[in-house]
């Protein structure tokens, strides 16, 4: 197991390197360090000395990817790309354009992001599975049909609609919770209820339908017939046998998203003014702050790879037939 995880970690390195190269090339394809200096210094007539000074201060006074003036391995290491990427791999993200430490910001903002993403994930999973079970229990009846139609309709509604309608109804008309904002500690509850509820509701359509097909597939297995043949009630078959067996694909499918919960939700957070990583990213995008966008891309890719490894491990935990070599 440990050997497997080590191997996967080594395999992740080239992927993260590739991610870095892609974002780096994307950025510097259109932007030279001189442009960056000019944009940040913000003055119309910037002298070349000022630009050089800015570049030297931030380590942008080197070639981008290949330094022909150096010897041997230094040809590759004495470059902007190497300098900036090595820091990334050590989770040293450097500073944003406004001079703040990105790593510190990320640590601070993870909490609020998780405070929304985790309940949405957990409650959403429970609600979706419940709805799917009800539909499967009454399968091929009008209830099932209405449920499926409702699911398709719900997944056809834009996520923005749920947010806007929810804010309008709950906050503006009924004055139940504040429209947006955030507070630390227990006070956060009243700010979190609405975004979490909206997150859950907007996911029901696609989620419940997906689990329904999953359960239906499981219903056609042999063990279900056996269970019925020995005289179990339909409820016992569904809840004791089908649910337990369907939990394997459900759990392993859910594990891959868990690490990504740290990244928060871009849209929800910025609509509700929650100071999480999602709204941080949106602000960075709008401010064209490349250092932050790059750090978030790296973090996202890293968490995705962690999710993949966790998925593999969870397979072995829930299904003894699978062994990691």
């Amino acid at each position: 197991m440990i050997a497997y995880i080590l191997r996967r970690a080594l395999y992740a390195l080239p992927i993260l390197l590739g991610v870095n190269v892609i974002t780096f090339v994307l950025f510097f394809m259109v932007n030279t360090p001189d442009d960056m200096a000019r944009m940040n210094l913000g003055v119309k007539h910037v002298t070349q000395e000022a630009i050089d000074k800015w570049k030297a201060e931030r380590g942008y006074d080197k070639p981008l990817l290949y330094n022909a003036a150096r010897q041997g391995a230094r040809k590759l290491t004495d470059t902007i790309f190497f300098d900036k990427s090595v820091g990334m791999f050590a989770f040293d993200f450097g500073r944003a354009d406004d001079g703040r430490d990105i790593a510190r910001e990320i640590r601070h903002r993870m909490g609020p992001s998780l405070a929304i993403a985790l309940p949405v994930f957990a409650v959403g999973l429970a609600v979706n599975i419940t709805f799917a079970l009800v539909m499967v229990f009454f399968r091929a009846s009008y209830l099932d049909f209405v449920g499926v139609v409702l699911c398709v309709a719900m997944m056809s509604i834009s996520g923005l609609f749920y947010i806007i309608a929810g804010q309008y109804l709950v906050s503006k008309l009924w004055h139940l919770v504040p429209i947006s904002g955030f507070a630390d500690g227990l006070d956060a509850f009243k700010f979190l209820v609405l975004p979490v509820a909206i997150g859950v509701v907007s996911g029901i359509g696609a989620g419940a339908r997906w689990y329904r097909t999953l359960f239906l597939e499981e219903m056609s297995r042999d063990y279900v017939r056996t269970a019925r043949a020995k005289g179990l009630s339909e409820a016992a078959v569904l809840f004791r046998h089908v649910l337990q067996n369907a939990l394997i694909p459900i759990l392993t499918g859910a594990v891959v998203v868990i690490p990504l919960l740290f990244m928060g939700s871009l849209i929800t957070e910025s609509f509700f003014g929650i100071p999480g990583l999602g709204s941080y990213t949106i602000d960075a995008i709008n401010a064209q702050d490349f250092a932050v966008v790059r750090a978030m891309v790296f973090l996202g890719s890293f968490l995705y790879i962690v999710g993949l490894v966790l998925t593999d491990i969870s397979y072995t935990l829930v299904d003894p037939r699978i062994r990691l070599e």
């Binding site: 080239p14 992927i15 590739g18 991610v19 892609i22 974002t23 994307l26 950025f27 394809m29 259109v30 932007n31 442009d35 398709v152 309709a153 997944m155 056809s156 509604i157 834009s158 996520g159 923005l160 609609f161 806007i164 804010q167 309008y168 503006k172 990504l260 990244m263 871009l266 849209i267 910025s270 990213t281 949106i282 995008i285 709008n286 064209q288 490349f290 966008v293 790059r294 978030m296 891309v297 996202g300 890719s301 995705y304 790879i305």
Partner: protein, 467 residues
């Protein structure tokens, strides 16, 4: 006296249209594609959604024929063309486009949304809701005449819609009668009792519902703003119609852009295996591991910088907005091809071990030929299912991306831009709800029927779903 303009996305749309037609012609001769297609046509849900989608596509196509009208100039001098690029839809809906009010007005309103200082007929001034310049301008006494006027206009339009629908129904039955070699009344009875293999009754009913909605909308829109006006006084109904094209372009061109990569790389990875497979797998794992929105955001940011530093590349605003739309499709394609690529790789891995491929290899058929003749046709159903399934998600994604600020150009009409601009007006009292409602409604209908259609296609083409 017009100068046709072909924007990048226009060219691709018509390429896509040609490709679709070519696919149908090809599929008609292939039993393994023809039968599922027939199943789609014979499903009632499929029929209804096809009619609705066809209406959307028709609007989108009308909006994709661009031209620059000639300016009235001196005779003898060379013809001058307007800077503005128009589409056929703009031209058809000229009253809608040109009847611009000052600012907000509610749907079907005759008076503006906000009070202003108006001159009273007898001299003097007062603060009141001013009359709109165009909305209900033909009415002498709006308070008394408005609703009777609207009802008569709507009623006339409904009558015309019914007549039009009846003609279409009779035409269809005549065609069916001629094809089936039976009488017109027999064909009519079959259609009406739902006895035809293709559910024409469902199609006709959907078509009738569309006509009943469209005719009054068009009839009323020349004298009223049926969905109100936005902040700068533009007709919201016109904006939603214009947004149809943007939504369709995002939903379809994205897949068109990604398809060649996904198909080629997926087949290569599965067929050649070895290091080719390793490289391609590395490529898509890397792309897949970047959070989609972030990659799109980073790419769009970069493109904005590039466009700002090269403003002379685009001669009109429309060309600029179009280039951005095309780029957005391309980058969405880059982020979304990985799923299809992985599916195709897996399927090719399975196919290449089958006997007929082994036989072809033993006969010394070249790799290129095996892929083209034996593997590609057997992957078509996966490609088709993916294309239709992705469509609705992409339409919804456009709204979200425009909200984040990395969507289509702000000058381009799109549902995302409409929602984004109307979102801030929620705090007004009374609330400005019509822009949001119009955008969400049109988007919802398109996505709903696209989803239903996608389900039908998947059920028909997926061999596992066959019972």
């Amino acid at each position: 006296m017009i100068q046709p303009v072909i924007l990048w996305t226009d060219a691709l749309i018509f390429l896509l249209l040609a490709a679709t037609v070519a696919f149908f012609l090809y599929a008609r001769r292939q039993p393994h594609l023809r039968d599922p297609l027939r199943r789609v046509a014979r499903s009632r849900v499929g029929m209804a959604s096809m009619v609705v989608l066809a209406a959307y596509v028709a609007i989108g196509l009308l909006d994709s024929l661009h031209f620059r009208p000639a300016l009235p100039g001196k005779p003898g001098a060379g013809v001058q063309y307007a800077v503005e690029t128009l589409s056929v839809l703009d031209w058809l809906a000229a009253p809608l486009r040109e009847q611009v009010e000052k600012t907000y007005s509610a749907p079907l309103a005759t008076h503006a949304y906000a009070k202003e200082v108006v001159e009273l007929p007898g001299g003097g001034e007062a603060r009141d809701f001013p009359r709109l310049k165009y909305g209900g301008a033909q009415l002498a006494d709006p308070a008394a005449d408005k609703w009777p006027d609207i009802t008569t206009r709507a009623f006339k339009a409904e009558a015309m819609a019914l007549a039009g629908w009846f003609l279409a129904a009779v035409g269809l039955c005549a065609w069916l009668a001629q094809r089936g070699g039976e009488g017109l009344s027999a064909a009519w009875r079959d259609v009406w009792r739902g006895k035809t293999p293709i559910p024409w009754r469902t199609g006709l009913l959907t078509w009738g519902a569309l006509l009943l909605l469209a005719f009054p909308a068009v009839a009323l829109s020349t004298h009223y703003h049926i969905l109100g006006t936005d902040k700068v006084g533009q007709d919201v109904f016109f904006q939603t119609l214009k947004s149809v094209r943007t939504g369709l372009v995002i939903g379809t061109l994205t897949t068109l852009v990604m398809l060649p990569f996904a198909v080629l790389l997926g087949i290569m990875a599965g067929y050649f295996r070895g290091w080719v497979d390793d490289v391609i797998q590395y490529l898509y794992t890397t792309l897949n591991s970047i959070p989609g929105v972030l990659l799109i955001a980073a790419a769009v940011l970069m493109m904005q910088v590039w466009m700002e530093s090269n403003p002379d590349l685009f001669d009109t605003v429309a060309a600029r907005a179009d280039a951005r739309l095309f780029f957005l499709c391309a980058i969405l394609g880059v982020t979304s091809w990985t799923g299809l690529c992985r599916l195709l790789r897996g399927e090719t891995l399975k196919l290449r071990e089958l006997d007929y491929i082994q036989a072809a290899q033993a006969f010394g058929v070249s790799h290129g030929r095996i892929i083209l003749r034996h593997i590609l046709p057997n992957l078509m159903h996966i490609v088709l299912i993916t294309v239709v399934m992705d469509f609705s998600g992409l339409v919804l994604a456009e709204a979200v991306l425009s909200y984040v600020g990395v969507g289509v150009d702000p000058t381009m009409q799109s549902w995302g831009n409409m929602i984004n601009s109307a979102r801030l007006e929620m705090a007004r009292e009374p609330m400005v709800w019509w822009t949001l409602a119009a955008a969400f409604l049109f988007m919802f209908v398109l996505v709903l029927f696209a989803n239903l259609f996608a389900d039908t296609v998947r059920d028909a083409f997926d061999p596992r779903a066959r019972r």
